[in-house]
Structure formats: C-alpha cells, structure tokens
Amino acid sequence: MKGLLRAAFAAGLMLSASSAWAQDAIKIGALYPFSGGLALLGDESFRGLEIAIEERNAAGGLNGKKLQIVRGDAVDPNQAVGEARRLTSVEKVPVIFGTYSSSLSVAATQVAELAGIPYFELGAISDPITERNFKNVYRTNPTARVFASEMIDSLIDVIAPALNVDYKTLKVAIIHEDSLYGQTVAGYQTSRAKEKGINLVETLPYSANSVDLTPVILRLKSAGVDVVLQTSYQNDTVLFFRQMKEQGLKLKAVMGAGGGYSLRDTLVAIGAENMEGALNVDFTQYRTNTKAAPGLDEFVKKYQAKYSTAPRSGHSLANYMGAKIFLDAMAAAKDLSSVSIREAIMKVDVPVGATATGWGVKFDEQGQNTRVAPFLMQWQGGELVTVYPPEAAVAKLKLGIGTK
C-alpha cells in the first residue's frame, strides 16, 4: 500500500512537472478518429489542421507563444466523449478542433459546451450540431441542408438550362442509403424540391450494404426518370453505376452528395469511362479555379512537402481553411477565455472567394458559418473538376453519362 501511494505521489509530481514545463506553449486539442474505420479521412482532416498550426507557429505563434497540438482519438461517440473530457479536464486545453464525423462531433461538442471550452468544427455536416443554442460551438463548413439545397438548385440553375428544358418537366428521383447521412440529406432535398416545384417521381432508400440494386434501377426505369440525386457511400455508388449500365438505364444526369462520389477509388472501381459526366456536390476539391480560392495552391504545396503525397481528399483543405479562421480569431481575442473568443469570432467577416476553399465566413448566433456553399463538380476525363459557380469553375458542364 505504501509503495503504491509513493508511486502515485511520484506520478502526480511528474504530471504537474510536465504541465509546468508546457506552460509557455498553448495547447490545442485535436479530436479526430485516428484509428478504426473512420481513420483514413479522419487523419486526412487532421492534416489540414496540422498544416494551419505549423504555418502559424512559423509566423511566430499566437501572441508570441507556440501552439502545441494535443491529440484525442475519437473512434466512436463514446470514446469521443471520453477524449473530449480528457482534453478539457486533464490536458486543460483552451480550445478543441475536430471532428470529421457528425456522430462524433454531436457527442464531443456536448462535453465542450458543458466545460465552457470553444469547440471548432471543421468538417462534420450534420445540421443539429449548430442548432442546439450552444454558446461554444462554431462551424466553418457547410451543413447537410446546404448540400441538399445546392443539389436541387444546381438542377434548376445549371442542368435544366444545359439540357435546354424547363426544370419542371424533368422527372427527378432521389435515391439514398438509409443511415443517418442518407436520410438527412434526402430529407432536406425533398423539402427543397417541393419548395421549388420539382417533379419528384421516386424517393428510394436502400441499405448501404445492399448486394443488389437492380430493384431500385428497375423502379427508376419504369418511372422514366431523367435525373437521379444519390446520397451514397463507396460500395453502393459502385453498384449503382455498374447495375445502371447492366440494366440499360439511361439518365440525363446523375448527381452525388459527396461521400462515395468524391473518392478516386470509386472512379477506379467503376471505370473512368462509365463515371464520365457524373456530377457531385461537395467540399471544395483541388481542381478549382484558384482565383476564387486564393491560397489553394500554396496549401497543396505545403501538403506535398510535409506528407510527400498529394492530398487524398478535400477534407484536409476544408479543415485547413477553418482552422486558419479560428486561429486568426484566437489571435484577435484579448485572451483565450470562451467569452473573448466568442466576441472575436462574431466579429469575423470574410467575403466569399477570399479563403483557400473559396468560402466566405460570417457566423450566426448558433456559431454556424452562413457564407458557405459547396461547389458543383463533375468527373471529366478521370478528374473531378469544378463546373459551377462560374468564378470557381475550371471546366464547362458536359451532358450525358459514360463516354459511349
């Protein structure tokens, strides 16, 4: 017993010593899924934050103090809560950045809110994160509702004019995987479509674990659908494109809501010639006009220098952009208390087209960035290029799906 007490005492001394040592650096909590199934894109997201922090340290840090990242590994919502508690109460970080996944963010932000620690969300899209009247949660990226509205609006503003038809004559179908992601986006799509008077002929949810989407495709075929809006992961995107071809379903346009549509592996599995012309609404990707997204090139260069590979997805860019906004706000705040940070954040006012993602920044009372919208992209010649809005576009919209 005595030995145990002595050991505990020694450990306590060491802990207090190490925190005393780190006092001249400012700790920054970074809560992402670093292991488990979400790790790939979780880590990709974290890289954006890491580059933003290194950039700031190279420029002298925050008010003369260096920034030091403290990682929290949020594998699932339970662990997100545990790690958020550790960051706020043991590590005593003044702010937390995160989180990539919405379910992790919903859980972790509650801990931060209770602890009165500002939580900066840079990637999770679920709307309720910034609809709970929290005072310490801020988000730079667009939400699911904005994604869904953007898809419907692109249909009206871009696709129907390109097809040279009145958008009300197009038969539109929504198909989506039936987990929270698909349900959420499809729900907002449906309400926006009704609002705009779109002719919605089918809404078909399916399990992302489906091994056969032929019934879905035959339903679309029977209904004579022109345009399909799909919210999907990778496997179901691959299956849909393959079986669409097999069953001879001819569409005028097909549009994805990020997810499986944005990833190169999906394209490789489907074949570039079959996915040619597929549209996609997502966070800013790398084939975007840099006049509308100043700093994008520099980010890619820094990324390549640090990780010796090209960015694996747009997640790192979105996290980089958001982290820079919040670090600037922290620098502008008179101290790192949550009240001062909130004051500084509410003053942030960046016009659209002035950040590396092309997004502007202006937060509402709930901490949600209101000057933000995903771009419309298209797979062309094996590349995901931005086609709308015109100032961000690097290519013109092409009609049709598949090269044949």
Binding site: G37, V211, L218, D265
Partner: protein
C-alpha cells in the same frame, strides 16, 4: 409461399400490363442469380454448422480473405478471377482446416457460447487485420467482360451471374456425389448423424471435422472468386453477405445442403421482388420476418430433417 404483389395500376399507373410482367420476370431471374450467389456461401456455412456444429460467424471474413486473394492474384499476376478460383479454394481449405484444428477443436467440449465468442472474435480480428493491411479503400478486379449482359429470351442476365448459377448447381451436385459415393463422404455423414456412434465405428471424428471445416471454407473460396468481378473488396464486405446467409441456412433446415440451395433461391427472389414492389430499404425486413416466422412455426426449416435426427 405467397408473395406480396400489389396491383400494378396502383403503383405504376403509366405501365401497361405487358411491361409489368416483363419487369416481374426480370426481377425473378435476377433473384435466382443473386440466390445462386447466396447458395454457394450458404452451402459452406451449412456444412460447418450441420456437421461440426459450430456457428461460424467468421464466414463472411473468409469470403473477404478470398476476395482480397483474388484481387491480389489478378493485380500482381494478371490471373483471371475464374483461374484464381483454384488456388483460392485450396487456400481457404487450408485456412478452414487450420482454424478447426487450432481454435475450434480445442473448444469442442466447451459451451456453445464459448465457440460463438471464438468465431465472433476471429471475425473482428480478421476485419481489423484487413483494415491494417489494406486500409478502408476499396479494390476492384478489372473484368468488365464478366459484367456484360447476355440476352436471355428478351431479358438480360450477366455473364458472371450465369457462371455463378451453373457453379451453384455443380457444387450441390458435386457435394451430393461426394457425400453419397465416397467412403470419406459417408464418414462425414455418419459423423453428422451421430458423433459417438461414428467414433465407435472407427471414424476419426476430429479429422472429419477438420476436413469438413476446410470444405465449408473452400465453398467460400469458390464464392469469392465468383463474386469478386461484381463487387469491390473492402474489409467489411463479408457482412454484406453473411447475415443473409444465416437466414438462408435456417430457412434451409440448418443441415441440408439442398435446403441451403433452395433457401438461397427463395431469399434471392424475395429480396428482388420486395425491393421492387415494397421498398428497397425494406427487403431486409421482409426476409427477417420470414426468418422469425420460420423459427416460430417450423424451427427445423423448410427442408429440415425434423428434431432428434442426431
């Protein structure tokens, strides 16, 4: 079994009757094709369950291993997935035999739930091993010629599906001949009927178990080579198939390979029809309702031997 079949005029008023029948036939054909895929997987599961009496929750992960093997063989050695079937079947046989020899055999006299924990644990370990080795990315074998539609009396079937259907029938027929026509097959059947009596008759039961587990895994090996042209591989791909395979095994009477075959066809067709006529996201509901009804009203399955046939 009655299938839900709404009035076509209610669901699709713009369709003529002839077109509706066309869709129905296409859906049934499609269901049979998907069913033959489930059949090959379920026959393997049935062998292991019916003879070794172990519920193999890692069955889907065996499929995942086979699919990665097919991908690697095609990517690095340019082997066509159907050519790679042979080495993969051998590989899976060896894996299955080793699992039985070094994991399950040690637990044969333990409680059933211990065996279940062992196979569930193996499943989790294998998924995470695959995540470690291959990451969460998906890999696809490039075989577009197998995804070409074959015209079939005005309907279309895929080359890969037709091959699968033929293989499923050949597998069941082959197993029938093996089980009834060879001494080893008879020993396996004897062991399934009564382990102790078989032991008294000089059957080396532990060896029979090793061979049977290997055979069950080898069926999955065949399935993985046939499935890989159609579905990209990911660490969790096994879970796409294996839940349905369990339903099929119960439907088919747990120990009958013929039961598994017809059970798979039924589930394939039900899946296909309910996905179209009810809703794509409710097809699992439909087949799990069937699962529950069978457990309540005919727990020995549609083709079961009946109770007490040990």
């Amino acid at each position: 079994m009655r299938l839900y079949r709404p009035q076509p005029s209610v669901l699709h008023p713009h369709l003529r009757e002839a077109e509706t029948i066309d869709v129905l036939v296409q859906l049934i054909l499609n269901g049979i094709m998907i069913g033959s895929m489930y059949a090959i997987i379920s026959v393997g599961l049935t062998l292991i369950f019916g003879i070794v009496r172990v519920v193999n929750f890692a069955h889907g992960e065996f499929l995942m291993i086979g699919m990665y093997a097919a991908y690697l063989l095609s990517h690095y050695f340019g082997l066509h997935p159907y050519v790679s079937a042979l080495p993969i079947i051998v590989l899976l046989f060896v894996i299955g035999a080793l699992v039985q020899r070094f994991i399950i055999q040690k637990l044969l006299d333990a409680d059933e739930y211990i065996q279940i924990f062992a196979t569930v644990g193996m499943s989790i370990a294998l998924i995470n091993l695959a995540l470690l080795l291959f990451g969460a990315d998906l890999y696809a074998v490039n075989a577009p010629e197998l995804r070409q539609p074959v015209p079939f009396g005005g309907y279309s079937l895929l080359v890969a599906h037709v091959v699968m259907f033929v293989c499923a029938i050949a597998l069941v027929a082959g197993l029938h001949v093996f089980m009834h026509g060879t001494p080893l097959g008879r020993a396996i059947r004897a062991t399934a009927q009564n382990r102790n009596a078989a032991l008294l008759m000089g059957v080396r039961v532990e060896r029979i178990y090793i061979i049977t587990f290997g055979l069950g895994a080898a069926c999955v090996g065949l399935a993985s080579a046939l499935v890989v042209p159609l579905y990209p591989v990911t660490p969790t791909i096994g879970s796409y198939f294996v839940l349905t395979a369990f339903v099929v095994v119960v439907l088919g009477g747990m120990r009958s390979i013929y039961g598994a075959f017809f059970g798979a066809m039924i589930i394939g067709i039900v899946d296909s029809l309910s996905g179209y006529y009810i809703a794509p996201d409710l097809k699992e509901v439909v087949h799990f309702v069937i699962f529950i009804l069978i457990l309540i009203f005919k727990p020995t399955g549609l083709f079961g031997f009946g109770r007490g046939t040990e």
